[in-house]
């Protein structure tokens, strides 16, 4: 078991290497001199030179990459080009809102989506199934920020039931915290609900046509036991896979939804950094997001064994 997890961890190294190269080479994408771009038109030659030095642009690319990688491996993502603050510190400060948002969204999405998918599969091609289908396609089709604004406008702004924008830290009280997160979570979660409920439906439909379901019926078992004891566990692995892949969706969505609701999280930090070309922050955040994605999917891999005794590590 331990050996296998170790092997699995080692197998993520090549992916992380690719990610690091990709992220590092973003610096060289900008047409022209990035230092000049960052400094702006009115900058003095000294300013530009200082930024060049800070970004390491005077060194050959390969050497610069290994320097950067060395620092990253020591959890040193560098300092912001603009305010000189440590990237690690900046990210740490903004962890809570982003992780609160993601945890709440995941929870709400799974709790709603799985029963919805099971219902749609059990009554395949019925009216209920079709409504679930149309709603899920709709949520794929509306950009997440539009959902955010519609909810903010009609639910919060028009009625005043919920705070329109902003974030309340946990230390300000759970009620406040929750009230500020409801709308962002719902807007962010809709696509996730659509994704999970559709895979649940598809996976359940496949399982329900299996021979062992016929066996269960031949034993005289009744609907609910067949559905939840015999079918759902067999259908679980594709569902958790999508939950894992969907984390990328959630991370990307958080970047957008934090801007809509003015939440001071990592997403906002990223957007601001990208628009100002604050490379060390961009690189740091992207690496962090990629690592979260990889770690979550590693955990998902281990989860497979819980649902399927045929898989062992």
């Amino acid at each position: 078991m331990v050996q296998s997890i170790a092997n699995r961890l080692i197998s993520t190294v090549p992916i992380l290497f690719v990610v690091s190269v990709l992220i590092f080479s973003l610096l060289y994408l900008t047409p022209g001199d990035p230092a000049q771009m960052i400094a702006g038109a009115q900058a003095t030659q000294d300013d530009v030179e200082r930024i060049r030095e800070a970004l390491g642009l005077n060194d050959p690319a390969l050497m610069r990459y290994f320097d950067w990688l060395w620092d990253v491996l020591h959890f040193d993502f560098g300092r912001s080009v603009f305010n000189g603050r440590s990237v690690t510190e900046l990210i740490m400060q903004r962890m809570e809102p982003t992780f609160s948002l993601m945890a709440l969204t995941t929870l709400f999405a799974i709790v709603i989506a799985v029963p919805l998918g099971v219902l749609a599969a059990w009554r395949a091609n019925s009216v209920v199934d079709r409504i679930v289908l149309v709603l899920s396609i709709a949520s794929f089709s509306i950009p997440v920020f539009v959902t955010g604004y519609v909810l903010a406008y009609y639910v919060a702004f028009k009625t005043g039931l919920l705070p329109v924008q902003g974030y309340a830290f946990l230390k300000e009280g759970v009620g406040e915290w929750l009230a500020h997160l409801v709308l962002p979570s719902v807007s962010l979660g809709l696509i996730y609900v659509a994704l999970i409920s559709r895979i649940t439906r598809a996976s359940m439909l496949e399982v329900l046509s299996e021979d062992y379901i016929r066996t269960a019926r031949a034993k005289g078992l009744l609907g609910r036991r067949i559905l939840f004891v015999h079918a759902l566990r067999n259908a679980a692995n594709p569902i958790v896979t999508v939950v894992g892949v969907g984390v990328a969706l959630l991370l990307g969505g958080a970047v957008v939804i934090e801007s809509v609701f003015n939440i001071p999280g990592i997403g906002r930090l990223t957007v601001d950094a990208i628009l100002r070309r604050d490379y060390p922050i961009i690189q740091g955040v992207m690496l962090l997001f990629a690592m979260i994605y990889i770690v979550v999917n590693l955990i998902i891999d281990l989860l497979y064994t819980v649902f399927d005794p045929r898989i062992r590590y």
């Binding site: 396609i137 509306i142 329109v164 696509i191 970047v255 992207m286």
Partner: protein, 270 residues
């Protein structure tokens, strides 16, 4: 067609949107780029069907022209991603020696959230229609690669492929005759999903401020411009958003209909 209402309805709406975009110059009421400070933030009326924006530009005309840009971006990304994805997927699936390297690169690309990758690429390259298309295509392609590679891997185990191999048919001929044709149906389905997803991503890029500049109206950047005024003039967001969402919805149900018709699975995501 009649047996599959989602293809008919979805396709019908898409065709309508394409026609609106094509004939925008004849359907417009006021030049979409002309600013008029006297007409700022007007509510919808018989003069300004969808109202006006913060610069006094006519929203109805802007939405018509915006459709041109958004549909072009979606179409271009769909063609680019499926083309690149097909090529790389075939190579990775058939030449096992390259598979490891290619798929690690794809895994790496997919580990970065597509939205974030597209935002970063577009912002750093500088906003223009071409750069937005490239940025979104890079974010979309890995999933096409994975789809095609999976299909090729399962096809090359088929008995009829082995039978061809045994009778001395060359590898390149096997790819062209036995493998490539079987990728077209799933690729077509996937292309519709990429098309839909690219239009949404374009809107998100504009919203963040990393998209196409407002001098070329797109549904995305019209919505983005309404952002500052959302609490007072919500319709500035609403109308372009309705057009965008309706079109994306139509493409999606068209894709689902196509999938059911061709009996294919697709890999949907955003």
């Amino acid at each position: 067609m009649l047996r599959n209402p989602s293809i008919a309805i979805g396709g019908g709406i898409v065709v309508l949107m394409v026609l609106l975009a094509l004939f925008a110059p004849y359907l417009q009421t006021i030049d979409p780029l002309s600013m008029n400070p006297l007409n700022r933030m007007k509510d919808p009326s018989s003069a300004f069907w969808f109202g006006t924006d913060a610069y006094g530009r006519d929203l109805y005309s802007r939405v018509l022209y915006g459709g041109r840009t958004s549909l072009t971006v979606g179409f271009a990304v769909a063609v680019l991603s499926t083309g690149v994805g097909l090529l790389i997927g075939l190579i990775a699936g058939y030449y096992r020696s390259l598979d490891g390297v290619v798929m690690r690169i794809m895994d790496g690309l997919m580990a970065i959230p597509a939205v974030l990758l597209a935002i970063a690429l577009s912002a750093l390259l500088g906003g223009s229609v071409l750069n937005v298309v490239i940025a979104i295509a890079v974010a979309e392609s890995p999933r096409v690669v994975r789809l095609i590679r999976g299909i090729v891997l399962s096809l090359r185990e088929r008995q009829y492929v082995e039978a061809a191999l045994i009778s001395g048919v060359s590898r390149s001929r096997i790819i062209v005759r036995h493998i490539l044709p079987s990728t077209f149906a799933p690729l077509a389905v996937q292309a519709t999903y990429v098309f839909a997803s690219a239009m949404v991503l374009e809107a998100i890029l504009s919203f963040i401020g990393a998209g196409i500049p407002p001098t070329t109206p797109s549904w995305g950047n019209i919505i983005a411009e309404g952002r500052q005024l959302w609490q007072i003039k919500f319709f500035i967001i609403l109308y372009p958003a309705l057009f965008l969402s309706l079109t994306v919805f139509a493409i999606n149900i068209f894709g689902d209909g196509l999938r059911d018709r061709l009996d294919q699975r697709g890999d949907r995501h955003l």
